[in-house]
């Protein structure tokens, strides 16, 4: 696991997040996207003493989430189908951008679209939230924070590497229950 330079982190135990009303997808409902992000935030909230609350006001939320296409003004233009999928900024910037040109799927719905370039939204959301919290990329391919994700694959369970990195930044959630974490070979529970 790695951190951004200077190990920036949030110094509050509750973070609010909101979705852009203007930069969104027309083929996924807001509820689809909200449900996926709720699960992704809960993954991290189960490990560290930080809670995440969805709010309506995008401008005042700590974490701002939106789907953008091409050059969207932050110096990191998206590049169309595949290539870069999303990016998020280190604490305390709070912005998380997803490439609107991707074929995003939720709930393992790879089949209905049959697309070879379908990308799982929950996997990317869980990864980018790791960046929002201050984690950098991991060299372990099984880690959520590994930079690459193949189309039609899902990777949402935090591994030992992900949890070790975020625990070091924020400490442990007093309610952390090991059995709530993944069964994967690298899970902290097996560690």
């Amino acid at each position: 696991y790695t951190y951004f330079g200077g190990k920036p982190k949030w110094n509050q135990d509750k973070l609010t997040y909101a979705f852009s009303e203007t930069h969104k997808l027309d083929y996924l409902t807001s509820d689809d996207v909200r449900t996926v992000f709720r699960r992704a935030f809960d993954q991290w909230a189960s490990v560290i003493p930080v809670s995440f609350e969805e709010v309506d006001d995008y401008t005042t939320a700590d974490l701002k989430i939106g789907f953008f296409a091409g050059d969207h003004g932050d110096g990191q233009p998206f590049d169309g189908v595949l290539g870069t999928l999303a990016h998020a900024f280190a604490p305390e910037n709070g912005r998380l951008h997803l490439d609107a040109a991707e074929t995003w799927v939720v709930d393992d719905d790879f089949g209905s679209k049959g697309s070879t370039v379908a990308v799982d939204l929950e996997s990317v959301a869980t990864h980018e939230i790791g960046h929002l919290l201050g984690l950098g990329h991991s060299s372990q391919e099984s880690a959520v924070m590994y930079p690459s994700l193949r189309p039609r694959t899902k990777k949402v369970d935090l591994t030992v590497d992900d949890v070790a990195g975020v625990l070091k930044l924020y400490g442990a959630n007093p309610k952390l229950r090991l059995d709530s974490l993944t069964e994967s070979e690298n899970s902290i529970k097996n560690g």
Binding site: G83, H131, S139, S148
Partner: protein, 121 residues
């Protein structure tokens, strides 16, 4: 009707261009150090995008030449180290396949500058 056809053609054209170059590193597999191959400059641009190749001059790095030079070999080794691949410095199949895979847009600079922590099992 004519305008509608023109607009559709234009939209299709844009998508095509953005796909054409980003992902097609497969023909660079096993390209050797010292060789001059079209497409190496795109690879350098990819590695520059994610923090592995600096654009501070040298032999035309700013222009990202098509020469597979020593600095590119070093950048590939660092990329392989960071992404958990066998460190060969060469454009072997697994490295090119990973470079062609979709990824997060955040650069790997923090992996290079600060180094990474390992989890003891």
């Amino acid at each position: 009707r004519h305008l509608a056809e023109e607009a559709t053609a234009k939209a299709t054209q844009t998508i095509h261009v953005s796909n054409a170059t980003w992902h097609d590193f497969s023909r660079l597999v096993d390209v050797q150090v010292g060789s001059h191959v079209s497409g190496v400059s795109e690879l350098k641009r990819y590695l520059h995008r994610f923090g592995y190749v600096k654009d501070d001059g040298g032999d035309g790095m700013k222009n990202f030449s098509d020469v597979f030079d020593g600095r590119l070999e070093t950048a590939i080794s660092l990329y392989q180290q960071n992404l958990g691949l066998p460190i060969t410095g060469r454009l072997d199949m697994s490295t090119v396949t990973l470079m062609s895979s979709p990824r997060c847009g955040v650069s790997d600079t923090h992996m290079i500058n600060a180094g990474f922590h390992t989890t003891a099992h």
